[in-house]
Subunit: 501 residues, 2 copies
C-alpha cells in the first residue's frame, strides 16, 4: 500500500468568479468611464482598505439572519495589550467613507466630495449568478444638507449611465424619501424600531413580490414557494391599508415628478413628517429642473425604499429598462443596477456631530453583466499580440529581434515559448486573438525575407488548418516581404478596421 499524494482540488471558492478577456476589459472600461464622469463633477479619488473594524463598519445590511449578519468577519490577532479586535471586509464603499470622514474631518475640504471603486464582499448564500464579491463605483458628498447635493448625485448618476453606454431611454433613476414611511408609521402609531425596519424591508420587495406578498410581510408573515416562512412586521391592518394607498398613489408612469408629489400628498396619512419629506423632494425636483434633468430620466416613485438601514432621507435607485434573455431564451429583467440616498446619521455615529451626507453607488459587475446580456457596451473581441512563430533553437536570435522590433514600434507582440510544432503554434495564435503571425523559417531568413500571415482576415481559415501541407498552400492574407518591411507590414494589418469573430 502506497500513500498517494493528497492533491488540493483546483476550484474558486463558492460565490467567487475569475474574470478575463472581454468581460474583464468591459468591466474595467465601465469603471474608467464612470470615474471620469465623477472627476468631471469635482469628486476626488479615495481608496480605503478592504477591512474595517466591525464596530466601525456597523450592521446595516438587510441580512440579519445570515451568519455574521452578511459580512466576512474575523478576529484580529492580539495586539501588544492582548486585544484581538473583530474586523470585517467592507460590504459597501459608504460605511468606510463614513469612518474615513469622521476620522479626518478636521483636515478635509468641506463639503467633501469623493469617488471610489473596488471590490466589496457580502457573505450571502452563493448561487448561480449570485456572487459574494463584486465591484462598486461610488460618489458621495459629505457635509452638505442641500437638496442640490442630492440632485447633483442623481444627475451625475444619469450621466454615468450614459457614459456606461446606455441611451437615455434604457435606464431610469427612481427617487423617493424614507421619511415618507416615517410619516406613515407615525400617523399609524407604529413606534417600535424593529417593526419599522421589518416593514421597510418588506416594502423593498414590492418589485419582486407585488402588493400581496408585501402585505403578508407587513402583517402576520409569508410562506414562500420553497416552504420557508418569514415572520411579518405585525403592523395594524389600518396601517397596512394606508401603506397600500400610499404605494398605489402614483402608479402611472406618465406622471411628472411634480404630479407624483401631488398624488402622494393626496393619498393622505403621511403626517407632518411625510409632508416635510415631500418638501425635500420638491426642492430636489427644483434643482433637477434647474440642471435640466429630463422627467423621463429621473422619476419620483413611492415604492422605492432601498435595503440598507443607514438611509435617512432621499433614496435613489437606478433601473435598467432593457429586457434581455437568458441562456434559455427566457426574458430577464435586470432591475436595480445601482442606488443610493441620504445618510445623515452615518458619520454622526462616530462623532456625535451632525454631518449630513448623500451618495450613489453603481453595481459595476451587475451593470457589466446586464450590458453584456443585452449585447450592448460589451468590449470588442480581445485582440491578442502578434505572435512570432518559433521553428528552431538555432534561429532564436532572429525571432527575438523580430519581436523586439515590433514592441519597440508599439505593437503588442510575443514569441511563442512552448515546444509544440507549427500547427499547434498557429492554433495558439488564433486562440490568442493574434492579428498576425510572423514566420521566419530557414528559407525566409536566408533570403532576408519574412512571412506575415494576416489572421484577422483569415481567422476562419486559420482555425480550420488540417495539417502542415494544407497550411503551406497559398492562401489569402499571407505575404512574403523583405525582412526590413516587417514592422510596416504588420502595422497595416493591426491598424486595419477589425473583422471581429
Amino acid at each position: 500500500m502506497t500513500d498517494a499524494p493528497i492533491r488540493p482540488e483546483a476550484r474558486a471558492p463558492r460565490g467567487f468568479a475569475d474574470r478575463r478577456g472581454r468581460d474583464l476589459i468591459a468591466e474595467r472600461r465601465l469603471v474608467t468611464r464612470v470615474s471620469a464622469v465623477y472627476e468631471r463633477w469635482g469628486f476626488e479619488p479615495l481608496d480605503t482598505g478592504a477591512f474595517e473594524y466591525a464596530d466601525a463598519l456597523g450592521k446595516f445590511l438587510p441580512d440579519a439572519d445570515r451568519p455574521n449578519e452578511g459580512v466576512f468577519a474575523l478576529q484580529d490577532d492580539p495586539d501588544d495589550e492582548g486585544n484581538g479586535e473583530w474586523m470585517a471586509l467592507r460590504y459597501d464603499l459608504t460605511a468606510p467613507l463614513a469612518r474615513f470622514a469622521a476620522q479626518n474631518w478636521e483636515t478635509l475640504p468641506k463639503p467633501f466630495r469623493r469617488y471610489a471603486f473596488g471590490p466589496v464582499w457580502r457573505n450571502e448564500k452563493p448561487g448561480p449568478g449570485r456572487f459574494r464579491e463584486f465591484v462598486q463605483c461610488d460618489a458621495d458628498t459629505v457635509g452638505s444638507d442641500r437638496p442640490e447635493a442630492d440632485a447633483e448625485i442623481i444627475a451625475m448618476a444619469c450621466e454615468g449611465l450614459q457614459a456606461a453606454g446606455l441611451a437615455p431611454d434604457l435606464a431610469v433613476v427612481r427617487v423617493s424619501n424614507r421619511k415618507l414611511f416615517d410619516g406613515l408609521f407615525e400617523t399609524g402609531g407604529v413606534e417600535d424600531a424593529g417593526q419599522k425596519l421589518t416593514a421597510l424591508r418588506a416594502i423593498d420587495k414590492y418589485d419582486r413580490l407585488g402588493w400581496e406578498g408585501v402585505a403578508a410581510l407587513l402583517g402576520e408573515g409569508r410562506l414562500d414557494e420553497s416552504g420557508d416562512y418569514t415572520k411579518g412586521a405585525q403592523l395594524p391592518s389600518k396601517v397596512i391599508g394606508a401603506i397600500e394607498g400610499f404605494l398605489a398613489s402614483a402608479n402611472s408612469p406618465d406622471l411628472s415628478r411634480a404630479e407624483t408629489l401631488d398624488a402622494v400628498a393626496r393619498s393622505g396619512n403621511i403626517g407632518a413628517v411625510g409632508e416635510a419629506a415631500l418638501a425635500e423632494l420638491a426642492a430636489i425636483d427644483a434643482a433637477l429642473n434647474a440642471m435640466k434633468v429630463d422627467q423621463s430620466a429621473v422619476r419620483f416613485d413611492p415604492t422605492i425604499v432601498r435595503g440598507l438601514e443607514y438611509y435617512t432621507g432621499a433614496v435613489f435607485e437606478a433601473e435598467l429598462l432593457l429586457e434581455t434573455t437568458d441562456d434559455k431564451g427566457r426574458a430577464v429583467r435586470f432591475g436595480s443596477i445601482g442606488g443610493g440616498g441620504r445618510y445623515d446619521d452615518l458619520v454622526a455615529r462616530f462623532t456625535g456631530e451632525r454631518l449630513p451626507a448623500t451618495g450613489f453607488s453603481f453595481g459595476v459587475s451587475r451593470l457589466a453583466s446586464a450590458l453584456r446580456a443585452a449585447g450592448r457596451g460589451a468590449a470588442d473581441a480581445v485582440r491578442g499580440p502578434v505572435v512570432v512563430i518559433a521553428f528552431s533553437e538555432a534561429d532564436m536570435q532572429h525571432y527575438l529581434d523580430a519581436v523586439a522590433e515590433l514592441r519597440n514600434a508599439g505593437v503588442a507582440a510575443e514569441l511563442y515559448l512552448g515546444r509544440a510544432g507549427m500547427k499547434a503554434q498557429m492554433k495558439y495564435a488564433d486562440r490568442r486573438g493574434a492579428p498576425a503571425a510572423v514566420i521566419l523559417g530557414g528559407d525566409e531568413i536566408a533570403a532576408g525575407q519574412v512571412t506575415v500571415k494576416d489572421l484577422d482576415a483569415g481567422r476562419a481559415l486559420a482555425a480550420g488548418i488540417a495539417d502542415n501541407e494544407a497550411w503551406k498552400a497559398e492562401r489569402p492574407g499571407q505575404v512574403v516581404v523583405p525582412r526590413t518591411d516587417l514592422v510596416a507590414t504588420v502595422r497595416r494589418i493591426v491598424d486595419a478596421p477589425r473583422t471581429d469573430a
Copy 2:
C-alpha cells in the same frame, strides 16, 4: 445617571492605510504604466477573487510562526452538505494563478501568459510603514520550461522599472537559481526538507544581517537585538563553510553575468545539481544577450534566494539603487521592490502533471513610496475642479448653468454646496486645488458678466485672504468678463502651464 450613546472610534484597522490625492494618483499611474508594458509583451489580463480555499492557496509564506501562518483566514458557512471550508485572502497573485491555471488548463492557450494587479493581504505584525494590505502587479508565463521564458520575464521587469520612471542606472534585477543551494545541500549531505527551508530563509536575510547573522542562523541559532532567540538550521559546519565560500564567490559588482557564473562554478561544492542550475542560468544569459539586456541592468548574484517557498529554479529580485532619506534626514535603502522566479511545481500540486511556470511581481505600493521618497515619479499636485461660488439661494439657477457649461466643455467643475460664506468658500476652493473660482454675484448677473479668479496664479494670495473686504479688493489674476466668455476664460487658465505648489 443617563446612558451616553456608545460611539465607535473612527480608525482604520492596524496595518491598513487610506490613500488619496497625489499618492493614490501616482500609484494608479504606476499600475497603468506597468500593465501597458505587460500588454505590449503579449500578456492578457486576469482577475481572480480575493479569497481562495486555504488548501488551494497553500502555505508558502516565510511566516510559519505567525497566526494562520501569515494569512487572513476564516471558515466559510456550512454549504448544503454542512461543510464549512477554510478560506483565506490571497497573499500574492501567483498562488491564485496556479489554481486558475490548473482549473482551466484544458481551455487555455498554451503557454498561458497573464498579468494581474490588485491588493494582496498578509497577516504580518503591523508597524510604522509596514502594511497588511498592498498592491502587486504581476506577469507570469505558465506552461513553458524554456529559459527564454525566464529571460523574457526579467527583460520585461526591466522595461517595467523604466516605465515606472526609473532610469536604467537606478534599478537592477539580480538573478540566481534555487537549485544552486540544492546542490550545496546535496554535496554536504543535508537531506531534511525542514532544515533546508530554514537554511534558505536564513540566507534570504544575508542582505540585512550580513554573513555573521546568517552563519548563526545556519548553525545553532541567533539572539537578535531585541533579545529574541531564533533557532538555527543546525547545518554541519563544513556545509556552512561551503555556503560562505559560495556566497562570497562572486561579490564584485564589476563581474559580467558570464564571469559570475564562472566564479560560482570555481567555488566548488555545488555538485551535479548545482552545475545543472548554472547551465540554466547560462541559457538565460544567452537569451538576455539576444534580447540586448545590458549587463548592468540584470546581474547574477548568488546571494539571491527569495522568501517564498514555492520557487524551484531561477529566482529574480528587483532592487532600487536610489538612496533616499526618511523624515529625519537619515539615509534609507529601499532594497527589494519586486521579485519572482520559476515555480515548476505549483500547478502540479493540483494536477499531478508537470506544468512549469515563471513570473515576476512588482510591489506597487513599495515602489510608489520609494519613488515618492526619492522625489521621482510622484504625481503633480492634484488639480481640483473649478469651483463656482454660491452666494444666494435665489441665484442657484445661474450657478448651476455655469457649472454645467464648464462640464459640458470638458472642464471639471463643481458648485460649492456647503452653507459657509465667501471667505470659507475661497479657502475651500484653494484647499481643493481649484485652478479657478467662478463668481456670479448679484451685480455680475445683472450686468451679464462673470468674475473669474485665477487661483493657479494667485494661490498664495488667495490662501491668505483675511476677510470679505480684503477679498473684494482688486488683485492680480481676477478678471471680469462677459458671461458668454466664461468657458473660454476658464479654459485659458486650465490649459496654462501649471504653477504647482
